[in-house]
């Protein structure tokens, strides 16, 4: 059982991660899915949320938003508009973003503003929970 998966996370601005891992859990558009080595080829849209991977018995968390996952038997590629390792998440900033989003949500008049504020809120909440999970797992 030494077979591993190569997990690659890329965003337009940089390559966030490229590492061999044992297991990947990702927030698919239709719900979370898990990937072990030798998965069938699989292509999915990702929602806003936390991706996690297990390596050497430890669980690491990564925040992703607006992306896609391409799974092949020995590799998982994540294309995301934004991705941050839990350790890189700025808690202070995320909290402020959450407050801003909530205020805007309360004020939002039309549909588009409302949808935008809601997306911003979801992103900030996902960032916070990502960091928290990372802290709990002791990988931050």
């Amino acid at each position: 059982m030494s077979k591993k998966l190569l997990l690659e996370i890329v965003t337009p601005d940089r390559k966030v991660l490229s590492q061999d891992v044992d297991y990947v859990g990702a927030p698919g558009a239709l719900g979370e899915f898990g990937v072990l080595p030798n998965h069938i080829p699989f292509l999915s849209a990702l929602g806003i949320g936390n991706l996690y991977y297990k390596d050497a018995g430890k669980t690491h968390y990564v925040f992703v938003s607006g992306g896609f996952a391409e799974v092949s038997p020995d590799k998982v590629t994540i294309l995301a508009e934004a991705a941050e390792m839990a350790t890189d998440i700025d808690l202070e900033r995320a909290r402020k973003a959450q407050e801003r989003a909530q205020q805007r949500l309360a004020r939002a008049q039309d549909k588009i503003d409302h949808a935008r504020a809601q997306a911003a809120l979801r992103r900030s909440l996902a960032r916070l929970s990502c960091r928290n999970s990372g802290d709990k797992a002791g990988t931050c």
């Binding site: 999915s44 849209a45 896609f68 294309l79």
Partner: protein, 290 residues
């Protein structure tokens, strides 16, 4: 003939100019390195993205998504003109603007309305002068932009296309080929043509899709526009700095040439005046003797 002092001031002025152009050259080369590394970092994403799209688009036709649909009756065309914010980079902006305005004229000749989206101040100024309508403009952004900006602009393009404000969108940007070559590129981005999407060969793998192929395309296609806009902006930025570097290099060299020529003139003038003074003295002495 110019007086000695005039020539001396001129030499001083040119030397100062040379210092400035040299400094600008160095700044541009640092920025160019930065811009190039951003292109490098964007490459893996773009490549993967095109692969994925290629896999999906292989089986898709026009009816699958509204962004793929060609309109029978075209009324308005949007031109996205990406230029730099600052001048002093040779003919770089001029070439881009020329390409943009030429396209606008052609489209007008076909009886279409032309509306501009301007990224970068230089392009905006020129378009305004030519009296075309500018829908959206971003200025002073070329120094520090990221994917968010491309994403915003892309979304606006998509919205205008979907509510039929625009029937076609063309992107004009400066492609970075090498240090010495930057070429204006005119690229049609909306509607997305099937061939364009399928240009990248599919890897031939059979995938399980989630959600459906259509659902995934609906997510991928808008992002395809954003990716193209972003690439245009990255390329323009790198091209701008490369163009400025070579322009400043030329300017520095021209300064050297001028200083050399003027120094020669200075020495000649000085020599001439010494000779003249000597002649005067000798002539005066002769006259006294006589």
């Amino acid at each position: 003939m110019a007086s000695l002092r005039d020539v001396k001031t001129k030499i001083g002025a040119i030397k100062k100019t040379k210092q400035i152009t040299k400094a600008m050259n160095m700044v541009a080369s640092a920025k160019l390195r930065n811009a190039q590394s951003r292109i490098e970092r964007f490459k893996p994403y773009a490549q993967k993205f095109f692969e994925m799209l290629g896999d999906l688009a292989a089986g898709a036709d026009e009816s699958v998504h509204p962004l793929l649909a060609k309109r029978e009756e075209k009324k308005t065309v949007g031109i996205v003109l990406v230029t730099s914010d600052r001048g002093l980079c040779g003919s770089f902006n001029v070439n881009l603007i020329k390409a943009g305005l030429k396209l606008a004229k052609e489209k007008q000749a076909q009886g279409l309305n032309v509306k501009f989206y301007c990224v970068g101040k230089k392009g905006r100024d020129a378009v305004r002068k030519a009296e075309y309508e500018i829908l959206v403009q971003y200025r002073d952004v070329m120094n520090s932009f990221d994917f968010t900006l491309a994403s915003k602009l892309g979304q606006e393009l998509i919205n205008s296309f979907l509510d039929a404000t625009l029937d076609e969108v063309v992107l004009v940007y400066g492609e970075f080929i090498s240090m010495a070559r930057q070429v204006p590129v005119v690229q049609s981005i909306l509607p997305i043509s099937g061939e364009q999407a399928a240009e990248v060969k599919s890897s031939g793998k059979e995938y399980v899709y989630e959600p459906s192929v259509e659902g995934l395309l609906a997510e991928l296609l808008p992002r395809f526009i954003k990716v193209q806009v972003y690439r245009g902006m990255l390329d323009t930025s790198a091209s701008e700095h490369a163009a400025r570097m070579s322009a400043m290099n030329n300017a520095t060299r021209a300064c050297d040439d001028m200083t050399n020529a003027l120094t020669l003139l200075y020495n000649k003038t000085r020599q001439a005046s010494i000779t003249r003074d000597l002649m005067d003295i000798v002539g005066g002495a002769e006259a006294l003797k006589g």
